[in-house]
Amino acid sequence: METYSIIFAIFLGGAVLTYFAGKLNSILQDILFLGSVLVPTYLFFSGVSFGSAMPFSLEGISLLWGIDHYSWLFALIVLGLGSLAAVYAIGYMKGKERKGYFYFNFILSVMSMLGIVVSQDLISFFIFWEIMTWSSYLMVIYNGKDIQRVGIKYFVFSAIGAYAMLMGIVIVHSITHTFFIEDMIQAYGHMSLQLQIWIPILFLIAFAVKAAMMPLHVWAPGAYSNAPMAYTSLFSGALSKMGVYGMVLILVTLVSRLPQGIWFREVLAWLGGITAAVGTLWAIKQDDAKKLLAYSSVAQLGYIITGVAIGTELGMLAGLFLAVMHALFKGTLFMAVGAIEKQTGTTNFTEITGLIRKMPWTFLASLMSIIALAGIPPLGGFVGKWMLYESLITSDHYLLVILIFFASTAGFLYCYKFLFGFFLGQEEKEWEHVKEAPATMVVPMILMSVFMFVLGTFPGIILKPINNGLMDLGFVDSYKHLWETSVIFNNWGDHVILQPILYSIIAIFLFFLILVVWKGYKGTRYVTTKDISTSGEVPKEDENLTFSVGFTQPFLRAVAPVMRRQIDKYYTEFAKGLEGLFEFMRRIYTGNAQTYALYVVVFVVIVLLFKDVLF
């Protein structure tokens, strides 16, 4: 019981202390920051037991905190990624201004996300949800770049979502008269059909916004790319998962009990698929790594949403497994971008090239994450993708699987673009001085890469908690599961056995690498990428031959008709229209005292005219 209070007290106190410690000593601040993330993490995993809950009441509302296996899974994502990102942030923030501000919001974000998963009642859920929103908003505007557009857009979308949820919450409350999630689930069966449909919709809007689902995703690219990278890894990795968390909760506990729930599922799954496709296409178009990863996050969340939305057991496992994986690889990728940004000062593909020899560790981590992101065996991403496809096929989503597959294949383009743009290509003089990022930044990235690798062969490590979590939600019973520690099945009994595959791959790889290629390595000479001739022409020193800018042009030309429709534009037009309307409406206040007096008379006369109707 007490543990929760202590954890949240440490978070809150730590946030404030860290903020003010910056005035005293920078190193003290770093230590405090680390402490206030790591200590609660330790306390949480050592001190909190399943099933125990902490009830208390505020403003006459009974609240309840506690965890089950399902929330534990997300707590793992949040705190795990949070801790690693915190370590990373120490290095990342070194020498940057507004460190206190950053740390403060970082801690609050972690706290609020943990709060979301431990909340067993809707009010504390909403409170933490909002704290998460504004703390992340404050991070989005951290750089002060383009904030009136990007920041406000983020907040407005979040607010629309949150308020939709709030509406759902109060409607539920008007029926159940409590705020417990448990009671909502209980009462759901007895509600009128209209409410049964509307309440999940209202909740899902909120979660869809955070999970950046089409057509509510337009905030995401700007917000992800504007936040400092140390935070974006958490933002994209863990914060967006809160949308998934809620979505699964609603889908499993509410929608699955509704006969019409199938439509929710279908719509969500398709929206997820479209999100994946559109996100991928836009990611391909980007020239800025942050933007690229941001769109990629949107796309990845699309897969996750599709997985959880189709609602078969395999789909749910796939979605949640992908969620964990996404936290890992997207966290790593954003960290890598952060490292590059820190070392070079830019994240634009058109400017940076050939960092592979300067930042080998960063490259290794990026490579691993990209392989995982692309879903290529033997890394963890494959397991998730495989399960997703199998679940789609076995649950009769034939066209959707094509769409997902398209998105996934097209994703290779940006995967390659990312690696090529930063690490490969010609080396340039401008970046010769670039060094590898400090250890605090590299170690978390490498650690996460290792996790990805392990999960690729032994997905059972994380599938077991997922399964337990789903059991706690009442979704699956304990005997039926579709995985073993390193084997995954589909509903038809087909399976992939991961261990031999991994060993074969490693064996073949090493065999050819060592015997055929490596053998000659000693005798060969390293040639810089400048030392080439193309068609008999020797390029000059300053001539940039890296075609990273436009090299996806042919593909983009092929899909140009789809890209022409930007949802963002419609929103912008809508917002402009609204502002115009508001501008018109405020002309009511003409500034003339007589007009105002006339309004009074008009008001009185009108009310008198309609007095029989009104009263």
């Binding site: 405020r586 206040y589 003409t590 500034g591 003339n592 005292a593 007589q594 007096a597 006339l598 008379v601």
Partner: protein, 125 residues
Amino acid sequence: MDSSLFQLLNYGVYGTAILVMLIGLYGALVKKSLLKVVIGLSVMESGLNLLIVALGYLKGGTAPIFSEGFLNGSNKIMVDPVPQALVLTAIVIGFGVTAVALSLVIRLYRHHGTLNIDEIRNLKW
């Protein structure tokens, strides 16, 4: 008094009072000069006061003063004193408001150099 005549008086008194009010309001709403607007407001208040006093009247009533004459006289009906007391208050308040209004007019004239209400629109929207 004849009842139909009294009916006429009824219409006349209330009608006049309301008319005065409306005239005042009209002035306040339409006239362009600030002074006329203030005058309009005052006229409106006067009409209102008239209305209130008229409301307190009782047929055949005398002033609510227990003078020697009243105490000894036969007519024991008095008009309602409460509206009169209220009107007294309302008048004084009206005076205060008018005074402030006029001072504001002076300020406005000092600031804008005009009394045209349409030109005094620096604050809008």
